[in-house]
């Protein structure tokens, strides 16, 4: 392909300068390699992508030696040696291209493992896709891999894409555009796995599966390697030309031998190897002029990328990173799945990524190439050439985009169309909607969304009362975002930010911890906790103190301990020179003033003595305080200690909107001070009085009675159901008493106490979440891997001798 283009350029300048002989290993002439994907997809035939056929070469007097490989270059005699003998040259041009990079795992040489570089590969893929129900695994979610995936999917294969990085096409796209692309491919039935580490390719005679590091396997009739290219440089290396990653050429495309030139994917220019077509064409132009002794210089161009998948509009060019003096303009239209981002520097566009609507891409690209000053049109720039002076963005677009069956009110199961129908029927304010549909008539959390549906439907006739948005990154409230996460099944942070029209590319310190919690609560099995969106205490599993040291506090189940545990705590305090040891209000022992790098070692010591994290730092279950109950106390009516321990063992490790503290007292004398806790249980002769929503912090609140339980099991169920309801509905950083004040205790009682089915469902959902989260973070994070990647300094320059 590169050679064909170069010959065109050469003949344009001087038809008779050279007698040309063309060698090629493939049995046909030049074809447009970047159009192999449309051939594979069936959108084009091979003949349509041929750029130079036999007739063209004959017309131009080129002696074609197709199907004949050059095996050696003899630089002294200026000859190339091929299967057909020796051929003399005055100037030699190497354009050997590249081969697919085969990732170094066992089984990568099995039959059925193929690259995606030439027509032969395409034929192999066609053959595989002919079989019914055949499966393909594509390794690499870059440009080429995704084109292959879409094409094979269109041919009817079951396709899985394995991508090592966190989002698709990470070199060209940012996470938001990567999310939209993944969503589209999944909609087509392609299985996309990011952060996928391939361990081995399995099979005996032929490939039949791919094994991942985490133990999962993906069945495969073929495996397509699309994880990068390897410049084809063997012939140059053997001829002792300088070769790094590719054959090294100077600005004039000349190698270290003045009579040997090179171009295309096999070369390296200024440290860069190119796999895209535009630079190859530039190289061809330069090389042709060098051959006829004209001066020409190859300059690395701005390279734009367009994914050749039918129905996917995606464009990326230039610099996508934020940087010194760079600013960004972001446009999102959740309804139409559009994302555009411009990166500006010194009033000029230096890069752009667009998804969903790329009609303006060439306009932006031309402004990048022309280095045009855009300060005059900056305010409307993002809307493209047609909209200079256009209307500002509609903040209600995201709500307008919600489908008719999107559930708006979770309590009463009311979807958007029910509300819009009621509006058409004459309900024109929130109270009327409540009365006619019951939407937002229960907990009221969705009232903001209902108002926005009213605004979308009624236009200027309805003024949305100002509601507090989460932060400056969004116009939505906490409650709105939670409902959209649920109804739109959003399972990643880029997904939420896109569908809710976030105004920043990655949120801020206010919204990110809240979103992280909402995702954990909604999708405990699917969502991966994001440590970088957690505040310091939860990220480091210890409480930071004002001097930057931390406190370590092991769990004491129900406030009970043993001499062995106390010895281990004392040993740890000695060993790590802990400056202060404090008995806390939660019936445990706090070790204060621990250095960050000592944390994992101290945890390992405490783990060895059978202790786990007390989560004293968490927006999660803290403590279950108890009195000694019937075991020792002459007034005790029930085993309050035993119940407290059972509750703590059920609830520990769970994440909640804010911290949760429990207490169980063995009699109404209430020695465990249960009546100022989030959940307090008082044992009486006839059972257990469960009360909720107390507080003893900035506000002092006595608990309110939830229900009376006859048995210990029922008391536990009521407690768990209450905590789960709180987890599912409360705003991040609202303690239970503030949440109950908003939704009303009656609403809580109706679900937790009166509705036995709902109570059981709440307990079941809590248990599903706990199957992931009921574990000890100390044990996990005191491993050598965490020691190396998290706890120790990146480098210690104080160890080097001072000059």
């Amino acid at each position: 392909m590169a050679s064909g283009r170069m010959l065109e350029d050469l003949f344009d300048i001087n038809r008779d300068a050279f007698d040309v002989t063309l060698f090629g290993a493939e049995p046909h002439g030049n074809y447009n390699r970047i159009m192999l994907s449309p051939v594979l997809a069936g959108d084009k035939t091979f003949d349509e992508i041929v750029t130079h056929d036999v007739d063209w070469y004959r017309e131009h007097g080129v002696n074609c030696r197709f199907g004949e490989s050059v095996v050696k270059i003899d630089r002294k005699k200026k000859q190339v040696i091929s299967e057909g003998g020796m051929t003399h040259y005055d100037k030699l041009v190497i354009a050997t291209g590249s081969a697919s990079f085969m990732i170094p795992v066992p089984g990568n040489d099995l039959p059925g493992v193929i690259g995606f570089r030439d027509l032969n590969d395409v034929h192999k893929m066609f053959a595989a896709s002919d079989k019914p129900n055949s499966k393909a695994v594509i390794i690499g979610g870059g440009l080429l891999g995704l084109e292959a995936a879409a094409a094979l999917n269109a041919q009817g294969m079951k396709v899985t894409v394995l991508h090592l990085m966190g989002h698709l096409m990470e070199r060209q796209l940012d996470p938001a555009a990567g999310y939209l692309l993944q969503k589209e491919l999944e909609r087509r039935g392609i299985n996309v796995v990011c952060k996928a580490h391939t361990k081995a390719i399995l099979g005996h005679e032929h490939v039949d599966a791919v094994l991942m590091e985490n133990g999962t396997t993906h069945g495969a009739d073929i495996v397509v390697m699309a994880a990068g290219i390897r410049p084809e440089t063997r012939i140059a290396t053997e001829a002792a030309l300088r070769v790094e990653r590719g054959i090294v050429v100077d600005d004039a495309m000349v190698t270290t031998d003045p009579d040997i030139l090179a171009l295309g994917e096999c070369v390296e220019h200024d440290g860069t190897v190119y796999g895209l077509v535009a630079p190859l064409f530039d190289m061809a132009k330069v090389l042709a002029r060098t051959l006829v002794d004209e001066t020409a210089k190859f300059v690395a161009p701005s390279v734009s990328t367009k994914l050749k998948v039918t129905g996917v509009d995606l464009f990326s060019v230039g610099e996508l990173a934020e940087g010194d003096d760079r600013e960004e303009i972001v446009f999102r239209d959740p309804g139409r799945g559009i994302y555009k981002r411009l990166i500006l520097q010194d009033d000029r566009i230096v890069g752009t990524v667009m998804y969903g609507d790329t009609t303006d891409s060439s306009w932006f690209f031309s402004k990048i190439k022309a280095n045009e000053d855009i300060s005059e049109i900056r305010d409307t720039l993002i809307f493209g050439p047609a909209f200079q002076g256009g209307e500002p963005l509609d903040p209600l677009a995201a709500v307008a985009a919600l489908p008719d069956d999107a559930e708006i009110c979770g309590c009463n199961g009311i979807c958007k169309s029910t509300i819009t129908n009621a509006i058409t029927g004459g309900a024109h304010d929130l109270a009327a909607i409540k009365a006619t549909t019951k939407a937002s008539a229960s907990c009221g959390n969705c009232s903001g969304l209902v108002e926005q549906v009213l605004a979308v439907s009624l236009g200027d006739d309805f003024v949305v009362p100002a509601a507090q948005s989460i932060c400056g990154c969004t116009d939505f409230t906490h409650e709105d975002v939670r409902r959209i996460i649920k109804s739109q099944q959003l399972k990643s942070m880029p997904a939420v930010m896109q569908e809710c029209g976030w105004k920043t590319s990655c949120g801020c310190h206010v919204c990110r911890p809240a979103l992280n919690y909402y995702m954990i609560a909604e999708w405990p099995l699917e969502y991966q906790d994001d440590a970088q969106s957690r505040l310091v205490n939860e990220r480091n599993h210890a409480n930071i103190q004002k001097d930057g040291t931390y406190s370590v506090l092991p769990r004491m189940w129900g406030g009970m301990t043993t001499p062995d545990e106390l010895r281990a705590i004392a040993d740890a305090a000695d060993k790590y020179n802990v400056p202060a040891v404090k008995v806390t209000g939660g019936q445990r022992i706090d070790l204060l003033g621990v250095k960050k790098e000592d944390l994992p070692n101290m945890w390992a010591d405490l783990n060895a003595a059978g202790m786990v994290s007390g989560h004293a730092y968490a927006k999660g279950l803290r403590t279950v305080k108890t009195c000694v109950g019937t075991d020792f106390c002459r007034f005790g009516t029930q085993d309050s200690t035993g119940l407290g321990i059972k509750l703590e063992k059920m609830l520990w490790g769970s994440w909640t909107p804010h911290k949760v503290k429990l207490a169980v007292s063995g009699c109404p004398r209430n020695c465990a001070e249960a009546t100022c806790k989030d959940v307090g249980i008082i044992c009486v002769d006839s059972g257990f009085e469960v009360s909720v929503a107390g507080a003893a912090g900035m506000e002092l609140k006595e608990t309110q009675p939830l229900a009376k339980a006859a048995t210990e099991e029922e008391a536990i169920e009521l407690t768990i159901a209450f905590v789960q309801l709180y987890r599912e509905h409360a705003r991040y950083l609202d303690r239970p008493h503030r949440w109950v004040a908003k939704v009303g205790l009656d609403w809580v009682i109706a679900r937790v106490v009166d509705d036995i089915v709902e109570r059981a469902a709440l307990c079941e959902r809590f248990e599903i979440s706990q199957s992931v989260y009921r574990n000890d973070p100390w044990a996990e994070q005191s491993t050598p891997e965490f020691e190396q990647r998290k706890w120790s300094p990146l480098a210690d320059l104080t160890l080097e001798a001072a000059e």
Partner: protein, 111 residues
């Protein structure tokens, strides 16, 4: 005169995260943003000495974990109403390795 020292691999720092480098003048925090830019600033918040490397990283800013002062990683300046700044250090990435310019900290040591 710049004095570049190879500190670590880019992958040793999580995206939207930070790690510290200990120097004779205290810790320097090396940040990696969501789009793989790297910045180096003094780890100590001028307000109440909070460790900035433990803050939440968003865009090219970090929020101090103690009292939510927000610093621009590019300039070391605070944003919003809080007034203050921290020192910035030269840092760059080459072939996946992080290089830190230690000349500034060295000259301050002499001074």
């Amino acid at each position: 005169m710049s004095n570049w020292i190879d500190i670590a691999s880019l992958d040793d720092i999580p995206r939207r995260g930070a790690r510290v480098v200990k120097t004779h003048l205290g810790c320097v925090a090396i940040f990696r943003t969501h789009d793989n830019q790297v910045f180096a600033i003094d780890d100590t918040c001028p307000h109440k000495k909070g460790p900035l490397s433990e803050g939440i990283v968003h865009g090219t800013a970090v929020t101090c974990p103690l009292h939510n002062w927000v610093f621009d990683l590019k300039t070391g300046m605070t944003q919003g109403n809080d007034k203050g700044s921290v020192a910035t250090f030269g840092v760059r990435v080459e072939d996946g390795r992080i290089l830190l310019d230690v000349s500034r900290s060295a000259s301050r040591l002499v001074a």
